[in-house]
Symmetry: C2
Subunit: 314 residues, 2 copies
């Protein structure tokens, strides 16, 4: 069996034909035009799907199309509720539109959820029943996979894993509340704290490293720390503390077998991951007498969104 997996991103919409083993067959993509109507954008994607299917004439049964979008949708109606980065999409009947154009069944999924499903079925989570994925990017997203099925809650609008307050009255979050996990564990939060430390401590290595890395502050703080800068170490230690307190919450609430980390920060390498593991182990994974929760970096990379969207059928 095969399915079409599509991943709607801020700069491009990527798709591929995916086999039910997780194998990626034929890729297609087009740039995301944020000013265009969703009808025009998704119309283009439907053309690409139809061309791919016509060109390759697969022998296997095509189960349908899975599409991951960066926002919320109504699971029952297939209507987009809210895509912060694609404001014109709110209210768009995506499922109905695509089904009419492609004559295939269409399933929608949140983009963080699709990556989680991909890792749970074909990646580092494939041997486990309870898989949590946390994406540390511009924001903090994630997905909950229970026995290989996504958990989403009422109308598919749960698993907003970045929006758990870990500090009442804390840092303002994009969602309007104060103190969310996202406001401490996202790359945006790390950049904010790095800039703040840089301003307060002009003698630190932070500025030099940021200049060297063309203003990539999130990477600069790790570099400065590696070069022995104590201010950078303080910023990173504090980041790890808040990140891990949030992860420990998820250990207690959901007690997964594994937490899969993804996003830019998760790719910072073994040094960071080992420190996260050490912080969590020291606190016995959240509570005494409870089983270990594995912490691993996502393994499917660039293709995970597409694989996960298609995996809604496998």
């Amino acid at each position: 069996m095969i399915a079409i997996g599509i991943d709607v991103g801020g700069t491009s919409i990527k798709g591929a034909t995916i086999r039910d083993t997780g194998e990626v067959l034929d890729r297609f993509s087009c740039p995301t035009d944020k000013s265009a109507s969703p009808e025009k954008m998704i119309g283009k994607v439907c053309d690409l799907v139809n061309e791919t299917l016509k060109e390759h004439q697969y022998n296997e049964k095509i189960a349908g199309i899975g599409i991951g979008i960066p926002g919320m949708f109504n699971k029952e109606t297939g209507v987009v509720v809210n895509c912060p980065n694609l404001p014109t999409w709110a209210g768009f009947h995506l499922k109905e539109f695509m089904e009419e154009r492609c004559h295939l069944y269409v399933k929608m999924v949140n983009d963080a959820d699709s990556a989680a499903l991909a890792e749970a079925k074909f990646g580092v989570g494939k041997d486990y029943n309870y898989v949590l994925m946390i994406t540390l990017g511009t924001g903090v997203g994630g997905g909950i996979v229970i026995n290989k099925n996504l958990y989403n809650g009422h109308l598919g609008m749960g698993a907003e894993l970045g929006h758990m307050v870990i500090e009442v009255d804390g840092q303002l979050c994009g969602c309007g509340r104060r103190g969310c996990f996202e406001a401490y564990a996202s790359a945006t939060a790390l950049i904010r704290e790095t800039k703040l430390a840089m301003e307060k401590n002009p003698g630190s290595l932070l500025k030099e490293c940021a200049d060297e890395l063309d203003g990539s502050y999130a990477r600069a703080v790790f570099l400065a720390e590696k070069r022995g800068d104590p201010i950078a170490k303080e910023v990173v230690d504090n980041y790890i503390k808040y990140l891990c307190e949030g992860l420990l919450n998820y250990c207690n609430i959901l007690r997964p077998n594994i937490i899969v980390l993804s996003g830019g920060i998760a790719n910072e390498g073994d040094n960071l991951i080992n420190r996260i593991k050490a912080y969590m182990k020291e606190r016995n994974y959240g509570m005494k007498n409870t089983p270990e929760v594995k912490i691993e970096v996502a393994s499917l990379g660039y293709d995970s969104g597409k694989i996960g969207a298609a995996a809604l059928y496998f």
Copy 2:
């Protein structure tokens, strides 16, 4: 069909025969002797089960025994891991012991989980797929019920809903971490804050109300507030704020249809519940464009633990 439901509490162990409609047939109970061995205590309970079944000669099929315990156990082995209030029970092979004595299949459940299952199947949650129960007592416990099944995570050790940090480096919690939901939303936390406010403000009505209620500080703070005491209002407002921030977290993480509140504080009446509802509605249930999460007080009262333990079979 019927099943035996047992609820192990700190002062007594209560049981009953429960019909698969939720109806409670015949009750039995014995005092909890914390100094006795688990073999002796559970041996007594087994005798009561066997006597009940002999006496009543039910015509219906007996599915088995469900037993709710105030602590953690290993779902795979049926061994008690940790019961904070029954320290001698750790390591006890409860399932095996009861199955041998009663010749019935035995299923174990955490006591907070059994109450959650009862409410989800027969109480205020019966019309919903996603039910969360939060018990506001000495501690904060709870249960997650998805499509009428308990969610517990790896080895049944998840859903420790009181142990989510909502204030990093905050109040010390019994679990060893700082800033847990339980350290702010439990009756214990409310009593702590009431006593603190009383000491700081000897002119408030708090002492008078506490004396009138024989030292029940949790009830005293609500009474003093009702009588117009501004200090009491401050304590209650702050309690509601932290409680609701925790509940809003669960709206975002799990997006249930309903959160069922139980425990002493939940029985404080409409005034408190309406203020909780107002706080949450104002924040749009956690995030914008998301569906309402109902807040209701548990409806099954005293019997819920027994009903829920038996409901493991229905």
